[in-house]
Symmetry: C2
Amino acid sequence: MPEDTAELRRWVAETDPYTLAHELNHAEADRRGEVFRLLPPDKVFEVFSHLDASSQADVLPTLDEATVTSMLNEMEPDDRVRMLAEMPDDEAERLLSKLDAPELHTTRLLMRYPEQSAGRLMSPAFVRLRADMTVDEALAHVRRENEQAETIYLLPVTDDALHLVGAIELRDLVVAAPEQPIAPLIKDVAVVSAYDDQEAVARLVKSADLLALPVVEEDRRLVGLITFDDAMDVLEFEEGEDFARTGAAEPVGKPYLSVSVVRLVRSRIVWLSVLALAATLTVNVLSAFEATLESVVSLALFIPLLIGIGGNTGAQSATTLVRALAVNDVRTGDILRVAGREARAGFLLGTIIGLVGLLLVTLLFEWSIAVIVALTLVTICTLAALVGSVMPIIARLLGVDPAVFSAPFVTTIVDASGLLVYFLIAKAVLGV
Amino acid sequence: MPEDTAELRRWVAETDPYTLAHELNHAEADRRGEVFRLLPPDKVFEVFSHLDASSQADVLPTLDEATVTSMLNEMEPDDRVRMLAEMPDDEAERLLSKLDAPELHTTRLLMRYPEQSAGRLMSPAFVRLRADMTVDEALAHVRRENEQAETIYLLPVTDDALHLVGAIELRDLVVAAPEQPIAPLIKDVAVVSAYDDQEAVARLVKSADLLALPVVEEDRRLVGLITFDDAMDVLEFEEGEDFARTGAAEPVGKPYLSVSVVRLVRSRIVWLSVLALAATLTVNVLSAFEATLESVVSLALFIPLLIGIGGNTGAQSATTLVRALAVNDVRTGDILRVAGREARAGFLLGTIIGLVGLLLVTLLFEWSIAVIVALTLVTICTLAALVGSVMPIIARLLGVDPAVFSAPFVTTIVDASGLLVYFLIAKAVLGV
């Protein structure tokens, strides 16, 4: 995006709406307003509709009242609800008052559902068929109602009271003989409740290999459709969240370069402080062994090496399990099986690294130090793999995001317990 | 999945093919053969077609020759190529000899493209339209050709020599007036080259908000279509890979519980050894300051705390940047901007933690130790954030997966350089 105003004007005129929106999502907030003021009126809505919800929430209040009102009424209901959720409550209420009656109705309908629920993600406008139609009638109906629906690739079939009977894929309808009844084409598709969690629903959409899934309330009453692309956006967001938490930071939910340094610091300081507090445990452990340390100072030389290797082993296990839990490869009931596997894996890794360590340390230090280092490596790696694999599962059992109890947390625990192991082994071997 | 044979038989009979495939993907290899022998013949292919490529490669050689031949010929060409890539070369060649001539031709065609390329991911069978058709003619053509194509939701438009003119969405075709020409419905969609990398292509499919993208060779000659769901499978695999590497392990590419402990160890031992070797640097640094350590043993007490906090700060930055690079929020050209932002963030984090540390350490130790700890925290956090953010970008510049130079690597570097900083500050403050 050019800095200079004249060049910026040219760039805005020449670039397609999709690319403009993509660049704006990644730009700082004040530059977004600048670009929007340069947009020709016929492009404003298209660019706006491609923006992320949080960018939309930033931009909308900077536009003139007439544009705000018309854009607000033109948006897809689910996009509107997501944008309003990013705004302060009073600003959201002010904007709601600008909606036409039918749009206000749909918006309030979606806002009844809890945040992060399928109801907030669904499109409440859909084209539904009746089971007694013929293919020709169904296609004619689709043509008439097409405009108002976000997708027509999945066509739910309901009775008159909106109870879901099944659904037909547009593809099957298009290739069927026109005079045939649609009944044999109806599939018994998976359905989700409007109150289900968005992440679970998104995984179901992905694995069902369908372009949309029906969303129902009690008695299978149809209230909307969740489309494949909205589901994928949820999964991308959740994966970003897992990723951030694995690195002991809270997700900022916006493109990296569009976020201020202060906001980055805020997303990191809490976890960093918690981990720092936990790490003071290592000072306590070392204080307890200060006499041993004073008599054999060379023991101190291996402290960072040993706890570093332990931390890395723990991080490997933790990262593997966070991912396995996220994609449902592992469930909480597998905890004992996982613990057994990881303890064995950690023992094997520790033995391999320990044997190499034994050889190398013997060359440069006394044999007793080499034995202490090797024994510590075996113990610490077994312990780290065990803690690293079990912690994310325990987090899930407690209803906490497993990614929170991932690598950095495991590393900190392994640091303190690893030191304890190291000095206990040292005292036993050296007899001090 | 039940252990007992009688119960297993009942479970296989009662469960739908999709669920069966999902459970088999997560089962150990020998249980897969058991289940396949219990499947009724009419269900075998459907279950098989829902398996992962690597599970398919495991199962196929265990079936009888007649079933192998018929299933092999029935598979979608892109699925077949993915499965063959998972097998030893001689086994793959043996299976290729069982293909009918047309299927062999398509398979060889796809196998010409490099692994991880768009050509391997695409479906080579598609329904193409000519620009001079009417809507009615186009729909009739789609009905005739539907069977052979993986998707008809995006219909590429080409000339007689297969040069791509554009594409039409099925939705637009269905709702248009039957007698109208299709020309005005043709869109100028994004295209990808058959030689492009799968991950980049999958991100494009996702962001283009289309259900498929055309794949072309030179002169925009159409060779296939990449569908949304195949693209999403690639992204899921790549995200798993990023995740594994962030935890210093190579991805195993299979569900966690279906992989043996030895395979888990193999996926981790290389990186763990490399990191252990790098960590020996910390022994060298500490050896160099052994005299300082002997004269002030209490300095040793803070070693794990300081390098732990440094490592966590580095991990936060590294994880943030690995993700930002993966989703194209940051490009390699942003390296200086990123370095500046992260150095400031690290300095702020270090100052906050350092001030708290100054207070706490003064209560229990001499003020000089407190000053050393606080100054080290500020320096080490700034350094860690800088190294953590820049390393993944440098990896990308060198053509290496940024996730490889992520948290564990950064932690190890920060350990050694942090110790250097700590003892240099200690010597300066204590004047020893």
